[in-house]
Symmetry: C2
């Protein structure tokens, strides 16, 4: 396992993030240190980073660099963004970091920053064709993405800190001030010829402000946040509700809204208004959020350095494969469970016996098959429950929180237990009990067919006639008789799911 | 990682258990298949395994063997116990297994079985000097263990199945039958000259019946069972309560008692009575239980094959180290957090500022230090919560459930959050809030001192005077100023825990 540290020297804080990865295989966020260095403090007047901030910045660079030497880091990628980029004394600061910390800091241009934001969006959301937004403290980047490639982008001075200072300087925000800010944003977006003129499309957003707003809406809706806001869609309606709440309180209280971090309370309303105005002007119904950002963009360029642009072929497939390979060496078993599950799924659908599931459920079933055993990394006992925990907390970029929960539950019920869709809580939908029962019944049978891990049952065919369903097997291995015998003992869930008697045919046990 | 499969061909079921391990480092139970082969069915009349059971046994051996070839197993250790040992057609059965499955099965003698049970007890419980019990279906083994070495042992036909058939043949158990069984057991134990004559001592028990009884008592008490019955002490009082409940219902209902497995309902009362009579006769107040058994005994002989007897030096230390090494390569950081934490703990105790903790808490703090970061294996975000999950579910043999929960909670609070002893639920004791707050405050400070992972703060000394506590540091690394600065920002929890102002001295940040 290689360990790559990305050091992000931002205006407000410096952050070191460590990614553990195996080339071409899997990656993971394994470590982090953050220091609130605030290099930009007081910079707006002088254009220069103050001596006390330079000292703190260099000390922090020394700590990060020492951390890297002692924590087995193979490679360090230090980058600096707007504050250092714009500082008059940039050269001095960089030289001190080189001298004391041995760090050769790369100062990112605005275009570089946009590109890394784009890579974060294109590699961790479901966006294929649409628009992206990256909101920082000073500026907002907008992007037009076509077939996952960045086609247009621009940067405007609409960052959360900037607009809050300029448009909402008082303890309370007046309706007039709010209106002025919205109008200002709408005008800018309206003038951008590659943004939609109210007819909408797919939209994804990154940056701490967007994440905080999504977290606040998620909490309001009572949704679980086991994997943060990954894949959550913040609707315009939910955002407007939040704005109404935030605008009704003085600035000093806004950080108390659940989901909003203490150090963002003073700028969250400004950020929310910018986001809402962009969405209204363009006609976006919702913004898809992700836990990824600039640092992941930088890391993806390294991890996928054999590709240009450095993109996963398919975000969801990459996410499932990443999680599967993180905990499993041998994929023959999960792949075969997947094959047999899909044969059952497709066969039952063709026989008209699977009305409770649809096309998209097929992909969830596939993902659950790949991940059903990862919990054994914790312990064999209750490994189905551990698989659920690892799926929910490891995260699956590209899937919605509801989809992640469904995948986790199918994996949870691959061995035993009575599938219970009420565990989806507020993410549950109509027919979920039937859906979850059928998908769990399928994976459970496939698992029994594969219990000797030797692909003894090469294939399974669904044959329906006279009220009975026969699962005919191509039995090629010595383990087949016991596999078939086990499958017979575990067919009851499928019988209940489809309301038919199920017979398993094959060499007798 | 090596993978060793132990195949246990028992009277009732065949079980294949896979252990993943790194020599001299760590081990884990990673996979398992079980088949209810019931080779002993009908054997009591003929002394011979029936043809239908021979066929099933050989088929199961074929499946297990195929599993081993396909699941990357490096080494297979197949052993057979009483049914095959006692069968007239043992040779035929073994030859068929050799021919069809390629398995060279080792038939264990009664002494071998006792020894593996002993190894399971000596390596996974807190028993040092005392007695052990291994209850099977046919027989019960008793052992006298001195300084963790097996000194005496014997086997009696008091297994749960045997005594149930002999003494409790009816649907309902009469007080007279119950009394007769107890008397029978008491007589046998009374005649054994190396068993205590009512004056008690430490006692540990293994076998499915004991585990089921412990699980039932655990559920009754509302205790968590995240790691099964590992380390749970089943008291005589709780056991007698259970017996009263079981005896009040017909045999067909006994499997409905939560904690009792369906296939044990018919023998559980018999087993409970034998255990109770042994405890009463010897004067044991409680029996310590473990998730380990024969199979782990067989595995330990392999894992610790450079030792005779194959014992860990210290069960608790081995458990902590096993879990720490399973998820971490570099132990320099956890070890240094441990060192600094103990310096704080000892210093505060010496200054009379740590009345809420005692000697045994020191060991829990140590364990938490070794394990505080293991959650990063799941994800860096919320890794303190993941550490807790991995500790509770990975298990720590040798510690009680309460101790495991405390270790998990100290690890949980090493970064942030308000320590809350109510999370201990029914395992909470008086002063636990103060205890948990102080221990969390200590590890949190040690973690800050070690934030650059470079042992920049070599040592810390507690100096108390005039109502203020000063933490004086031996700062040797470049990272020291920031570490000290961070420690200062995280001293509030300690201030609350000891009710004093805390100052951190060292090079200024």
């Amino acid at each position: 396992v290689r360990r790559t540290a990305v050091i992000d020297m931002g205006s407000n804080s410096f952050r070191l993030v460590v990614y553990g990865w195996e080339p071409g295989r899997c990656w993971q966020h394994v470590d982090e240190i953050r220091e609130a260095v605030r290099v930009s403090a007081g910079m707006s007047e002088t254009g220069t980073i103050k001596p006390s901030r330079v000292k703190r910045a260099v000390q922090t660079a020394v700590v990060f660099s020492s951390f890297c030497r002692h924590a087995g880091i193979d490679e360090v990628i230090p980058v600096a963004t707007s504050a250092i980029r714009d500082a008059d004394n940039q050269a001095e600061v960089l030289e001190l970091m080189r001298e004391h910390a041995g760090l050769d800091v790369r100062v990112l241009s605005t275009d570089d920053e946009t590109r890394y934001g784009y890579l974060a969006i294109a590699n961790t959301t479901s966006l294929v064709d649409g628009w992206g937004l990256d909101m920082g403290g000073g500026s907002v980047q907008l992007m037009r993405i076509e077939d996952r490639v960045l086609h247009e982008s621009g940067s405007w001075p609409l960052g959360a800190v900037r607009v809050s200072e300029e448009f909402l300087p008082d303890e309370d925000a007046s309706p007039k001030q709010i209106k002025a800010l919205r109008k200002h944003v709408a005008k800018i977006v309206g003038e951008c010829d590659w943004m939609p003129a109210g007819d909408g499309g797919s939209f994804a957003g990154i940056g701490g402000t967007v994440r905080n707003l999504a977290a606040a809406a998620q909490k309001r809706a009572g949704h679980p946040d086991t994997n943060g806001v990954q894949g959550f869609k913040l609707t315009r309606e939910a955002l407007e509700d939040l704005i109404e709440e935030l605008a009704s309180m003085p600035v000093s209280k806004r950080a108390n809204v659940p989901g909003i971090k203490p150090d963002r309370g003073d700028v969250i309303l400004g950020g929310a208004l910018v986001l809402a105005a962009v969405m209204e002007s363009a006609g976006f119904e919702a913004v898809e959020t992700t836990e990824a950002g600039l640092r992941e963009g930088v890391f993806f360029e390294r991890f996928l350095d054999d590709r240009d642009p450095p993109l996963f072929d398919d975000v969801r497939e990459a996410a499932v494969s990443n999680l599967a390979l993180r905990y499993q060496d041998d994929m023959a078993h999960p792949h075969h469970v997947e094959k047999l599950s899909l044969e059952l799924f497709d066969g039952l659908r063709a026989a008209g016996l699977a009305d409770s599931v649809n096309g998209p459920d097929r992909e969830l079933l596939q993902a659950a098959c790949m991940l059903h055993d990862i919990g054994t990394a914790i312990d064999y006992d209750d490994h189905h429950k551990h698989s659920r925990y690892l799926i929910l907390h490891g995260g699956l970029p590209g899937f919605s929180p509801r989809e992640m929960e469904l995948i986790a539950l199918i994996a949870r019920y691959h061995r035993k237990g009575e599938p219970d869709a009420s565990e989806l809580g507020p993410l549950a939908r109509k027919k979920d009990d039937a859906r979850l029962t059928l998908l769990s019944a399928i994976i459970r049978l496939a698992e029994q067919f594969e219990r000797s891990r030797d692909q003894a049952i090469a294939a399974v065919h669904v044959e329906a006639s006279n009220g009975t369903v026969t699962l005919a097997t191509d039995a090629v291995g010595e383990g087949a008789p016991v596999a078939i015998w086990s499958a017979r003992r575990n067919a009851d869930l499928l019988e209940r799911a489809i309301g038919r008697k199920v017979e398993v045919s094959g060499p007798d046990g």
